[in-house]
Symmetry: C2
Subunit: 577 residues, 2 copies
């Protein structure tokens, strides 16, 4: 199938042009790439009914320089006030800065930028240096009715950063990325919100050197965006890392937070648990910039002992057995695996190619064991924690999986997965260059609702001809898990994409899934919030919004559905703009 | 020391007189008792400088019939409306019902009732049958400005039930105690809020018979009030059970809740985790009846496998070593023990007598090993969960404790503790009959703040002559724990007691403890809430209160400090009334 002289597309290998749209929508580091391998390329052609010819000519690359036909709407006098606060060197109003900080990594934004289509932008970009500056900025914004947005790693996939009404974007990663306090006794680290994943883990993994600690630590939070996302963003959007089944979601990891809101600045208390009324620390988590700006956070940390990690991978004969085993593991009370992922048959077929299992003796052995390629499901996982604890998890997992007819295929696929786990998003631009979209939606679900959600959403996606739908569950709880839908299709029309995406969201809700498990809501799925939570619960969030931000200046324009007027809702809904 | 003919007080062994004050303030079942044993009695005399003579004559017993000099302030027309809703057989306005449902189990209330001192009472007691009735009742109360209180097991130790402004008390345990739904697949149980601990555990432990399940289950929530408290109360006051270090606090156990509030009725969603904004399920936890009435709750459940339990007890040579080992265990990442308790030297001396260790060969062996009686600290614990998981916990715990110089004294003391763990509160009436108070306050604290809090609060309590102060930590987290202070003194004057209690609360705050770890706030420590949380956080809670209950009818009069006016604050503060 894969000869040496076989055609391969000319995947982009050069950094985007400086100042270009592409430099904004391209994932990750400018000079880093991850291309579909030969096997995946072959599969794409098969599944999407494409030929090599479809990969000879690239579409719009977005390498043209950013030019915004939206001038800075702020009076020079106002701009000067921001310069007075944060220094003129930290205030920008050029088109590039405004577009860059006004967009995240949703596919919609990528498609718009690729074609130089109109986007919304803040009037001004400010890189504040301290929480005190942010207090002044928020006070100024509140006084003058200027919208304010916080920008961390810029990896939102929910239009969370879209500056619907102009205003000021505060970039937190430039200066506000410092260590505030480390407590080895409490096993916590307090940082500013702009600290990124690698900065945090480097500090913690090398704690004996960097923090004068007796041990090495980890925060245990590894979302796919890990390399390019920040602590503040994780908290604001309630992220979950790829090892959350053991370490917990961001909702679990945040001990306390400091905020600047139009209603004042405060820091929540640091207790491990209290019974002093509803917890303001909980109330702020997931507020997506709509209540105020996170200016500090204290996170739980864990002992870092990669030498204790036990890895395991299995192939199940079919999906129901994999799901049932995953539930049995999650409810087994022997501790949770750390990485923990089951892939449905379609994703498994892709994974077998990506991880190089297809065509190997393992592949043939699986067939001999009666595991049919069309039904096989991949399960990969690992156990962290104390050595015997991790060892016992692997032992119990093996026992449960084997009882379910699964075949153990060693821990090697997990190592492969670990190696590439942060870099898959790079492939989006490769595919986009040839008019192929790859996008995802994810949803929390109880065990009871699992198959209904999977089948319902998958049926909708697959009802579109020549469309791939890969699904996995990757964050586990005794009460349920999440389903992560990845869809790939040859699709270049923005309207068609938006309509398709809207259809998937509606199928998720129709089949009992949540609006999001770990991506947040932003402005993308905000129009469905009230239908999802119900009016009474939305009214609670609105009451909090009114309290913190009575003049609606904090990330306004639909965030969490807090200020979606009927008219605006129509405009926000895909196809409406 | 303990001869057969030695004097022992004539501890009360008869149920309280029917309709009496004593029948209200007495803990637990009317015909159940637990008296101080000979060894404890001897110790009390020593420590409080009392003699047998002090235990010959009983003080006020509170056996007189309840007579309230506060008539029902409700118009007959209004009373009739409540009868129309819940049936006349479920509506009461007699003195006994009003006093019973207007008081909890704080020592202040017990002292008042014992002496027939004035207490506050609701005008009416209603036993609603359904959530729909509660909707009608809350709507009626909202329309007419009638205060409404929810009464579960009546075990509040924070004046949580005090009906400061008359109104209607809703008793939830009479009818609203039903199973709503059991999901073995999701490992959840949905119940009405009036279900008590034993009702819940009986259902779950016998699930194959009662719920047609394939396994037995447990909720894992065992507060000391277990036998006489209800699910709704646990959630409202954010309780923690004695095995919370493994099973989690009530804050962790609640998957979703249904509420009736003046702003409407709603049910939060059932997902195991979501990223759809701040979680209303979290916002409602700990609201202590001030936002609305809990009418249903879905709780996590766990596999019930008592055969897997591993028990362990140790004696540490001194407190610092015990605390340090407890922290090492909590941060050791091999899973958490289930029961987990370390006692300071004074509590250890009491425990050695209670559990019959003093004077035994074990006692002599400890002395031989150099563990001095004045410094010894008891550690008791157990591990639940899957068999090898539990076994590994015991193994690691032993290793850590031995490294700290502790001596293993088998699992027997844990069995003794398990046997009596719900019954210690019965001793309060025994002591009260002879003018001795026993009371508790508890506080969450980080590991960093542990010793400062222990020393500061203990010093204050011990500065009162002839006062015992026993302290333990019993709910553990990697980031900290709680400290539970038990104080015993010969004290009959209510004002003196209130002043002393106020002093302890102030020392807790002064030394960095939280206002409560698992008892809640109620109206007792409400006056300190703003000083504790800060104005900005209190303003968040007040904004929620305004939203849910704009006319302040839900458990008004100071709950959580939400409606403590300056004047009222003074009145509420001990010594002010």
């Amino acid at each position: 199938m894969s000869g040496k002289n076989e055609f391969l597309p000319d995947w982009a290998n050069d950094p985007p042009a400086g100042g270009s749209y592409r430099s904004i929508f391209k994932w990750g580091a400018p000079d880093a790439f991850k291309h579909p391998n030969r096997r995946l390329y072959g599969m794409l052609k098969e599944e999407l009914h494409l030929s090599d010819d479809d990969f000879r000519k690239k579409r719009a690359l977005g390498n043209q320089p950013v030019a915004l036909d939206l001038s800075c709407g702020m009076e020079p006098e106002q701009v000067r006030r921001f310069m007075d606060i944060s220094g003129p060197e930290n205030v920008f109003s050029d088109d590039y800065a405004r577009v860059k900080c006004g967009t995240g990594k949703t596919l919609e934004e990528a498609l718009r930028l690729r074609h130089g289509a109109p986007v919304q932008a803040p009037d001004l970009v400010v890189h504040p240096r301290t929480a005190e500056e942010i207090e002044k900025i928020v006070a100024l914004c509140a006084r003058d009715g200027i919208p304010a947005y916080a920008y961390g790693g810029g990896s939102s996939v929910t239009l969370g950063l879209r500056p619907s009404r102009g205003g000021v974007c505060l970039v937190m990663t430039t200066h506000m990325n410092r260590l505030v306090r480390f407590s080895e006794i409490n096993q916590t680290i307090t940082v500013e919100p702009g600290m990124t994943g690698p900065q945090l883990e480097n500090l913690l993994n090398n704690a004996p050197d960097t923090l004068n600690a007796t041990r090495r630590y980890t925060c245990g939070h590894f979302p796919q965006s890990f390399e390019f996302s920040s602590v503040g963003g994780w908290i604001a959007a309630l992220g979950s890392g790829q090892q959350s089944s053991y370490y917990g979601d961001m909702a679990d990891l945040v001990v306390s937070q400091a905020y600047v809101t139009p209603a004042g600045a405060f820091k929540t208390l640091d207790y491990p648990a209290t019974a002093t009324g509803p917890k303001v620390n909980d109330i702020m988590k997931g507020s997506e910039g709509a209540f105020g700006v996170i200016v500090g956070a204290t996170l739980k940390i864990f002992r870092y002992a990669p030498e204790n990690r036990k890895r395991f991978a299995f192939i199940f004969p079919e999906w129901e057995a994999a799901v049932s085993a995953a539930r049995d593991i999650s409810q087994g009370e022997f501790g949770m695996p750390s990485a923990f992922r089951i892939s449905d048959p379609e994703e498994t077929r892709v994974a077998m190619r990506l991880y190089g299992i297809e065509g190997t003796p393992v592949d043939r052995y699986l067939s001999l064991r009666g595991l049919r390629p069309q039904n096989r499901c991949l399960f990969i996982g690992s156990a962290d924690g104390e050595r015997a604890f991790a060892r016992n998890i692997r032992k119990k997992v093996k026992k449960i999986c084997k009882r379910s007819g699964a075949v153990y295929i060693t821990g090697l696929p997990v190592k492969k997965w670990e190696h590439g786990r942060f870099t898959d998003p790079y492939m989006r631009e490769d595919l986009g260059d040839f008019g192929i979209i790859i996008d995802t939606l994810e949803s929390a679900v109880t065990w009871e609702g699992f198959h209904r959600l999977h089948q319902g959403v998958r049926a909708f996606i697959k009802s579109r001809p020549r469309t791939m739908c890969m699904t996995h569950a990757s964050h586990f709880y005794p009460q349920g898990t999440n389903l992560y839908f990845i869809f790939i299709a040859a699709m270049t029309d923005l309207e068609e994409y938006l309509e398709f995406q809207q259809g998937i969201v509606e199928q998720i809700l129709k089949h009992g899934g949540s609006l999001s498990h770990h991506h947040g809501v932003g402005k993308m799925t905000a129009p469905w919030m009230e239908a999802h939570l119900g009016k009474a619960q939305m009214d609670v969030l609105r009451a909090l919004k009114r309290h913190f931000d009575p003049n609606n200046i904090m990330n306004p324009g639909g965030t969490l559905g807090l200020d979606v007027a009927d008219e605006e809702k129509r405009r926000l809904l895909p196809g409406g703009s």
